[in-house]
């Protein structure tokens, strides 16, 4: 591949992720509004919020790390998006693979954790402690799922995974071949997005929105951007592993949005678990399903 082509792809992929992510945020808020029997925000609301936050005149910082934390949170996702193939663009997906991607998506969380830590606010620290606990909880089913997929397709290369799934139509999709793992994956997805019932780390009524407590202005704006990326990454990763990636952009976006409808619909109809109940929940059913699925994959 010519380097200029690659450069364009590497620029476009995060950009696409951000724009699609904005639409996903809007969809999330619209779904919430529908379930709550109201109208919901206007179309460009996510964008307004971000522009407004960046446009704040005073920006309160608690120190350099507070700022670097946001840089890492956004930058980590910008980097991670180039490892996630989209139709027509593979970026550097072949140079990393799913394990690298999995670990790269931890970077934003760690960055955020650093930034929040500097704020010297226990609400934020409790939020981070819960966020990391949640990560420990949902990553176990997620890793089982990823191991299963990697063994099933015989590779950790996401481009190959997509190619193999698209080779035989729907019948070769991961979700058809490994239904149990796909279900376990949905649990992990819910945890990854941090939505109810696994929304323990923002918990406004308990810890005053946890990590976001001291974030204002563009700090919060950075987190809003990060949320766009987070939604996009989680949904596209699921699409890539189980729904055959994107044959073309229409199918790709349709799948990506459709996947998100499930966790979003669940999110607004449940309260949050306590931490230990969340761990139990995520270590019980999805792990059992995943292990059974893994046994089928292995055999």
């Amino acid at each position: 591949m010519h380097w200029s082509e690659l450069a364009i792809e590497l620029t476009l992929m995060p950009l696409v992720a951000f724009v699609v992510g904005l639409a996903m945020v809007l969809m999330m808020r619209k779904i919430a509004a529908r379930l709550q029997r109201r109208v919901g925000p206007p179309l460009l609301q996510p964008l307004y919020d971000i522009v407004k936050l960046y446009g704040k005149r005073t920006q309160t910082s608690h120190g350099m790390l507070h700022e670097i934390g946001i840089v890492m949170a956004v930058g980590g996702y910008v980097a991670a998006e180039t490892l996630l193939p989209v139709p027509g663009m593979n970026g550097i997906a072949e140079k990393g693979g799913m394990i690298t991607l999995l670990y790269l998506t931890m970077i934003p969380s760690l960055g955020l954790a650093l930034g929040v830590g500097q704020c010297a606010n226990p609400n934020g620290s409790i939020g981070i402690s819960r966020a990391l606990t949640a990560m420990l909880a949902y990553d176990i089913p997620l890793v089982i799922v990823i191991a299963g997929v990697a063994i099933h397709f015989g590779t950790t290369n996401l481009v190959d995974v997509i190619a193999q799934q698209q080779a035989g139509g729907i019948a070769t999709w991961g979700a058809v071949q490994m239904p149990l793992l796909a279900i376990a994956g949905l649990f992990a997805l819910q945890g990854m997005l941090g939505k109810q019932p696994f929304e323990i780390y923002v918990a406004p009524a308990e810890i005053a929105t946890g990590p976001m407590v001291e974030m204002g202005g563009k700090f919060l704006g950075g987190l809003f951007v990060m949320q766009c990326f987070q939604l996009y990454t989680a949904s596209v990763l699921y699409v890539t592993l189980f729904l055959g990636g994107g044959e073309n952009w229409i199918a790709f976006l349709a799948k990506a949005f459709a996947v998100l409808v499930i966790p979003m619909s669940i999110a607004f109809l449940f309260p949050r678990y306590r931490t230990e109940d969340m761990i139990t929940m995520l270590w019980k059913w999805p792990v059992v399903l995943g292990l059974i699925g893994l046994a089928f994959v292995g055999s």
Binding site: L10, P14, L53, Y54, G55, R57, Q59, T60, S61, H62, G63, L65, E67, I70, V71, M72, V74, G75, G76, A79, T82, L83, I92, K95, G96, G97, I99, T100, Y103, L104, I107, L110, L114, G117, A120, P122, S125, I126, S129, L132, L136, I140, V143, A147, G148, I151, G154, T155, T156, A208, E214, K218, G221, G222, V225, R274, T275, E276, T280, L294
Partner: protein, 625 residues
């Protein structure tokens, strides 16, 4: 000047009295650092290969004993000498001066360090099994020198260590005798040739004795209880050195015996339940549990040194796991992890001791917010924990990635999942370390704390560069890892400068790092160039539910940091500890019974103690004359 093993060993030995002579003065300590540099250069000149053979050799009870440094030993030796060098430099300046004034004997410290280096070199350069045993015992006792230095808590830990070391030494001796009986020789080649003909039961006995004996030093489960406290409470440079490399001698010995001599294929021969579980799988699972449990124990620690000590135990599990996978990727990952672990563990311990140096405590509930006062130490610890947690772009990620890949390729998804659990536990635990030390509220009594002196920060920062560079370009180290693999008789790993190039998944860290840095760059541009200027505020200007935060309020979340998680897993701790201790007790019972069979003595430990000392003295006498 060409490299010669004898010259190196001589340098090492000469270093001991030199250390005693020079350690009390600052200049002398820097000269000693220079001595390590010379040793390192000498070692580098030796080159990674089988060329270096010692001229010293003698015959013991009809078995010739000699020393030869192969690629595996060289790899470990480089790490050892470098770790000692960095530790010595760390203590050379202000740390040494101030601690000497506080009553620490620097003579002992530097002598102990040098004795350890020498002992380890003797072990690593073992040319046959007797030499291996001699080196092993030397290493074990040398370690004690460093542990005893600090006094206080360290004494109790050291006492526990003695028990373990004696037991381990006995088992190794037993294994040695069994091997002699089975193979009729103690030369590596002869043993390796004889092993395939040995019966299963004898092979079981030999393998188990060796592996268990060496595991003691490795602190694999169920021998994991001694290491963390023993290493943690030594003085700073000793702790950094011990934590970085000392325990890896066990890994070296296991690699040598189990893979080079006995052979991984032979391990597959040893079934526990028909085909279901053979010794290799058993070892892999032991390794995984060694990786998991100490990690979660570490999570509960409130002393930064202990936390790191437990991680040291846990990381050993990864290395063992990679080794017993024994395919090119896994074993390379395991060996690479030895190097990586040495680098970041040294950084972390140095950073923690820098904090202790300035604040006088390592209690994670008495620290916090130090990033504003000790930014360089913070940077070092940050890079260290990224390495320890195995996140890109630091070197820890590369070795862990290789182990994961190997596990997936070998069709071991359960081991893979278990390993990831350990990694996640590590992430949680190290964030607690970083948060409670450097982040959060700066305590009032630490308002005037200053950054650690250059003599302490520079070794950390240099190691940080190493961690980063070998993370970006792991090919630099993988070259020697591949050579070590060949020395072990394994297929060398197919590496490129940026990582691994294999058909079933590629890792190019140069790309990953570049893209990550580019991402950070974009993030920084988005953050710093867009939107208004930010203004830093005091930590009391903070959200407190609408209340005024006053100076005397403790506003820092530190104790029981993962409270939610602990609600779920706390009951499991008790279970696991009980289980581990039971296992330990019964192991001791088994050893004692076995030993009674060999020596028909009620208290074999004393005999082993006396015997080992005699043998060591004798060998030393021969070697020097």
């Amino acid at each position: 000047m060409t490299g010669s093993l004898d010259f190196l060993l001589l340098l090492s030995v000469v270093g001991v009295p030199l250390a005693a002579l020079l350690a009390p003065s600052v200049v002398g300590r820097w000269l000693l650092v220079l001595l390590y540099v010379v040793q390192l250069v000498e070692l580098a000149l030796l080159g990674s290969g089988d060329g270096a053979r010692s001229a010293v050799s003698f015959s013991l009870l009809g078995h010739s004993v000699g020393w030869q440094l192969d690629a595996l030993g060289w790899f470990f030796a480089m790490i050892t000498v470098a770790a000692a060098g960095f530790s010595a430099a760390y203590a050379a300046g202000e740390w040494g001066t101030l601690n000497a004034r506080a009553g620490l004997s620097l003579r002992w410290l530097y002598v102990g360090l040098q004795v350890n280096v020498f002992a380890m070199l003797v072990l690593l350069a073992a040319g046959d099994m007797v030499a291996l045993f001699i080196g092993w015992e030397l290493t074990s006792w040398a370690g004690l020198l460093l542990m005893l230095l600090a006094g206080g808590e360290a004494i109790a830990a050291a006492r526990r260590y003695i028990v373990y070391a004696i037991a381990g030494g006995m088992m190794v001796l037993g294994g040695l005798l069994m091997t002699l009986a089975a193979a009729g020789s103690l030369q590596f080649d002869a043993v390796a040739a004889a092993i395939p003909t040995v019966g299963t039961s004898a092979l079981w006995a030999i393998t188990l004795l060796f592996v268990l004996g060496f595991s003691v030093k490795m602190a694999t489960m169920p021998f994991h209880l001694w290491q963390a406290p023993a290493y943690a409470f030594s003085p700073a440079p000793a702790s950094a050195f011990l934590g970085a490399i000392s325990a890896r001698m066990g890994l070296f010995a296991i690699a040598l015996v189990a893979i080079k001599l006995i052979g991984i294929v032979q391990l597959d021969r040893l079934y526990l339940y028909f085909d279901a579980l053979n010794l290799r799988n058993l070892l892999a699972w032991v390794a995984v549990f060694t990786a998991i449990l100490p990690t979660f124990v570490a999570m509960k620690q409130n002393d930064a040194r202990l936390l790191l000590g437990w991680h040291g135990v846990g990381q050993g599990g990864y290395m063992l796991l990679g080794l017993v996978m024994a395919d090119s990727l896994g074993s390379a990952g395991g060996l690479l992890h030895v190097f990586n672990h040495a680098t970041y563990q040294a950084i972390l311990l140095m950073a923690v001791f820098a904090v202790i140096h300035r604040t006088g405590t390592a209690d994670l509930n008495r620290l916090g917010g130090l990033v504003a006062r000790m930014p360089l130490s913070f940077l070092a610890m940050l890079i260290g924990i990224i390495g320890l947690a195995g996140l890109p772009p630091m070197n820890g990620f590369v070795s862990k990635w290789m182990i994961y890949r190997a596990l997936i390729l070998e069709g071991q998804p359960l081991l893979f999942v278990a390993t990831v659990i350990s990694t996640l536990g590590t992430v949680l635990s190290v964030y607690k370390l970083l948060h409670n030390t450097f982040l959060g509220q700066l305590r009032l009594e630490h308002e005037t704390v200053k950054e650690a002196p250059w003599s302490m920060t520079i070794p950390m920062l240099v190691l940080c560069v190493v961690v980063f560079v070998t993370g970006v370009a792991p090919g630099l180290v993988l070259e020697y890892v591949a050579a070590a693999q060949q020395a072990l008789g394994l297929a060398p790993v197919a590496f490129i400068l940026g990582g691994i190039d294999s058909p079933a998944g590629t890792l190019d860290m140069i790309w990953v790092t570049a893209i990550l840095l580019a991402g950070f760059g974009i993030g920084a541009v988005l953050f710093y160039l867009m939107g208004g200027r930010s203004r830093r505020v005091h930590q009391l200007d903070n959200y407190a539910g609408g209340h005024f935060l006053t100076a005397d309020v403790r506003y820092q979340y530190s104790d029981n940091f993962y409270a939610g998680l602990m609600h779920r897993i706390r009951p499991w701790y008790r279970g696991s500890f009980a289980w581990a201790e039971e296992a330990l007790v019964s192991t001791f019972g088994a050893i004692a019974t076995a030993a009674r069979g060999f020596f028909e003595q009620a208290n074999p430990a004393h005999w082993v103690l006396v015997g080992t000392t005699l043998i060591t003295t004798w060998v030393m006498w021969h070697a020097l004359v």
